[in-house]
């Protein structure tokens, strides 16, 4: 399953995008507000100094411009600090701050007015400055005087950048924290679904038969529906099998009666009737066994222990063939699982074991293992075995090599058919024990 196709991935991704966008918008808004606030702070500062400057200005009786005191901020004494003030009259400098040195502030094309105007301009050493300009007539007989006071724009930018760095770092931590919270939340919220998914895997593997009932209220309807579906599925299979059993009963009883009656007949029709009943019987067995076969490993609850099936069948064989005193060697069967329906496995193993018991002198060996991702089940005997060229023939239904041994010759044919329905195959060869080795190759569990 691709990660991108999971519910958790979708929730986490969407939450992540939303958190990122929200944090970026918030950061931009905060940085913008801070810039505005810082600019206002600088402006208030400069405006205060400008008013100080205006308040301290006067002309002497001889018409010389004087300042009663210089603006108090020590930054006006630092050379090229960006903090400057200047008083101009008719384009000439009357007074300027020590920080400006011999330079002058050039307003370019900007015409000063009697209201304070805020501009940005290039000062000495191409510094970007925020300048407050106002023109005032201090003495009626004097030309109006232009007052300029500046603050370095770089200071504002640095303050804003510093602030922005802090909030970006803070927001990254916040974003990671939120994402962690989302991941934890998703894990906790999806835990019941994960538990259901795990249980479904267990059901599929045959380790459980139903989903646990005690679920959260939101999930309970889903669990109930799935359990109902499982029950319905099991009931359908059981009903179908029971009906097949009834059908077998209702067909085979009259067939047995006809067959037995024909055996006592004297007429020429006896052989014909016996042959026909034999054919009908074979067909009934063939189609009943096909109909009974689940024949797929892709069903829920479809895993079955080979050891359990074999032990049950060995018990049956020991009862049926108790006069033979056969020795059954169950090579390690633990941990071997059949991916499919238990009854199908029992039909295959039962027929192979029955065949092996019929022919064995004293020993029947059963083994299993996996090879190249396939399950291999071996059933061997120490009987006479069969010739290589007969292997194909005996797997056809109704084929019996020795009519003196009871049976209908259906066993290996049934095994071959069921095995094929599971996408596997039945292979016959000579066993190390001397008799026949039947090997079932099936998809592994």
């Amino acid at each position: 399953m691709a990660l991108s196709n999971t519910l958790a991935f979708r929730i986490i991704t969407l939450s992540g995008i939303w958190i990122f966008v929200a944090l970026v918008i918030t950061a931009v808004m905060l940085a913008s507000n801070h810039r505005e606030h810082t600019a206002q702070h600088y402006d208030a500062h400069v405006a205060m100094h400008l008013e100080e400057l205006i308040g301290a200005s006067h002309f002497t009786g001889s018409g010389v411009f004087r300042l009663a005191f210089n603006p108090s901020d020590p930054r006006y004494r630092d050379h090229y600090s960006g903090w400057y003030w200047e008083v101009q009259q008719s384009g000439k400098t009357l007074k300027r701050s020590m920080s400006l040195g011999e330079d002058s502030l050039n307003l370019n094309d900007t015409q000063p007015t009697t209201d304070i105007v805020v501009h940005e301009l290039r000062g000495p050493q191409k510094q970007k400055l925020r300048v407050h300009v106002v023109q005032m007539a201090i003495e009626p007989n004097q030309e109006p005087v232009v007052f300029l006071a500046t603050a370095p724009l770089g200071g504002i930018t640095e303050d804003v950048a510093d602030y922005t760095n802090h909030i970006v770092l803070g927001f990254i931590v916040l974003g990671l924290g939120l994402m962690l919270a989302v991941v934890l939340q998703v894990r906790v919220a999806l835990k019941p679904l994960k538990a259901i998914s795990t249980r479904i895997s267990e059901i599929r593997a045959g380790k459980a038969s139903k989903l646990p009932e005690d679920q959260l209220e939101d999930v309970q309807p889903l669990v109930d529906e799935l359990n109902n579906l499982l029950d319905h599925n099991a009931a359908l299979v059981k009903r179908a099998r029971n009906q097949l059993g009834d059908l077998a009963h209702s067909v085979k009883n009259p067939l047995t009666v006809i067959n037995n009656a024909a055996q006592n007949m004297e007429s020429d029709q006896k052989e014909l009737i016996l042959q026909q009943t034999k054919d009908i019987s074979r067909s009934v067995d063939h189609y009943l066994s096909r109909a009974r076969t689940y024949g797929t490993e892709k069903v829920l609850g479809s895993r079955y222990s080979i050891r359990t099936a074999t032990e049950d069948l060995i018990y049956a064989m020991q009862r049926i063939y108790q006069e033979r005193d056969l020795d059954f060697d169950l090579s390690p069967l633990s941990g071997c699982w059949f991916k499919g329906e238990g009854q199908d496995l029992e039909e295959m193993l039962g027929n192979l074991l029955d065949n092996a018991c019929k022919w064995a002198k004293s020993q029947v060996r059963i083994g299993c293992g996996t090879l190249d991702g396939q399950l291999e089940i071996l059933v061997e005997d120490d009987g006479p075995g069969i010739a290589d060229e007969e292997y194909e023939n005996v797997m056809h239904r109704g084929s019996r090599l020795d009519e003196s041994i009871p049976g209908h010759g259906q066993g290996l044919g049934i095994v071959k058919d069921i095995c094929a329905l599971y996408g596997g195959q039945l292979k016959l060869s000579r066993s190390e024990l001397g008799g026949l080795q039947a090997k079932l190759q099936l998809p592994s569990a």
Binding site: N253, N259, E323, E347
Partner: protein
């Protein structure tokens, strides 16, 4: 040997009964599970042939109840239900063998005789006592290699006694196993049969244990 057939298909039951009687078995038939259980619990059968799909009480339940009551009569399941799961269930419920329908009478007879033989502790179908040999598969009796003609009743009596060597078999037990349930058990026909067998085989083959019954062979006579 006395056999109970529990089979709801009347015609099939009749056929099996007829064949078994032809093979010198004494046969009773029950048409449903309840009758079958009653007969199996009250009459001493040597074997029971049991169908699984029965009215009133299914075959598996009948078998389980029979075994729970301690009855160990050999049971052969004869049924159309032929999956291995059903066979295992039947055998685990206490059946001794399982034969699926349709079947051949030869196989049914062979399995039935094997069951009865096993139940009485004989591995071979040939029973031998002194000079008398009884082949249960061919129903032939010989004395020192010479065939002896026996009636069905004589054969049943001899077979039952030879199946239970050394055992003192009461007249009642013998009657129960060689006659069906309608036989008048007070008649003296058993004494007549024993005398006829002594005449045809050997006078000292069957000993009378006064007040107890009859005994065949003996510790030193039976092989």
């Amino acid at each position: 040997m006395r056999v109970l057939i529990v089979e709801d298909n009347a015609e099939l039951a009749r056929q099996v009964k007829s064949t078994l009687e032809h093979e010198r078995f004494v046969v009773d038939v029950a048409g449903d599970g309840e009758d079958g259980l009653f007969l199996a619990e009250t009459e001493p059968y040597d074997s029971v042939i049991l169908d699984l799909g029965l009215p009133k009480l299914d075959g598996l339940s009948l078998l389980q109840r029979l075994r729970r009551s301690g009855n160990e009569v050999p049971v052969l399941i004869l049924t159309s239900r032929d999956t291995w799961r059903e066979k295992v269930a039947g055998l685990r419920a206490g059946a001794d063998d399982y034969l699926a329908k349709p079947f051949e009478f030869e196989e049914l007879l062979a399995r039935l005789e094997a069951l009865i033989r096993r139940a009485s502790g004989h591995a071979s179908p040939i029973l031998t006592c002194c000079k008398v040999v009884l082949d249960t598969t061919s129903a032939r009796v010989t004395v020192e290699g010479n065939p002896v003609d026996l009636t069905a009743l004589e054969y049943r009596t001899l077979e039952y006694l030879m199946q239970h060597p050394d055992k003192v078999v009461s007249k009642t037990e013998l009657t129960e196993h060689i006659y069906d349930q309608d036989f008048d058990r007070d008649s003296n026909v058993i004494e007549v049969l024993i005398n006829r067998l002594r005449g045809k085989l050997s006078t000292d083959l069957i000993r009378t244990r006064r007040g107890l019954g009859y005994q065949i062979g003996g510790v030193d006579g039976f092989i």
